[in-house]
Amino acid sequence: AQSVAQPEDQVNVAEGNPLTVKCTYSVSGNPYLFWYVQYPNRGLQFLLKYITGDNLVKGSYGFEAEFNKSQTSFHLKKPSALVSDSALYFCAVRDEITGTASKLTFGTGTRLQVTL
């Protein structure tokens, strides 16, 4: 069975400072990892994904995530936070597809609050 843990319910950071939103995962095979963001009153928006290759993945809005196989982590990062980054962030995992199973397993979400 696959699972995702987002250990922080909320992360607070001042604008201009770097931010990290943590995610660890568990899968039986090779992981496909995703970050989605939900802005207030909006749906889930795809940010970035890791399938294979370079461990550092770059995505939308200046976000990046680092895949660490030994620590089974996929933390989301941004060098300089903006107030507009304030939103709910979800990490998700999918096991390397065998057959046609392609469902995503999500974490509980981390609320990012960026203040001036």
């Binding site: 989605y36 749906g43 889930l44 597809i97 046609t100 469902k103 999500f106 509980t108």
Partner: protein
């Protein structure tokens, strides 16, 4: 290109009533998924269509939930009869292939009183 759309955006019903949620995937996406987020918890998978066929319905909570995708285009998710614990946000997502990125709609917030 239009994204995934869902209707209605909000629905408030009483326990025992029926509600039908609709999802229109991105044009050309054969794969359609339903997920829900209950009481601020994690987003949980409900089921997966490939065209009009149910590929995986392992996440459907019970037989009060019925999903259809006649013609392989839009999908409906019916809850009958609704219970209090069904309250939450129901998300629909679509992807071109099963291995492709899933793109989500804005969700339908269901409140059962």
């Amino acid at each position: 290109e239009a994204g995934v759309t869902q209707f209605p955006s909000h629905s408030v019903i009483e326990k025992g009533q029926t509600v039908t949620l609709r999802c229109d995937p991105i044009s050309g996406h054969d794969n359609l998924y339903w997920y829900r987020r209950v009481m601020g918890k994690e987003i949980k998978f409900l089921l997966h269509f490939v065209k009009e066929s149910k590929q995986d319905e392992s996440g459907m909570p019970n037989n009060r939930f019925l999903a259809e995708r006649t013609g392989g285009t839009y999908s409906t998710l019916k809850v009958q009869p609704a219970e209090l614990e069904d309250s939450g946000v129901y998300f629909c997502a679509s992807s071109q292939a099963a291995s492709s990125t899933q793109y989500f709609g804005p969700g339908t917030r269901l409140t059962v009183l």
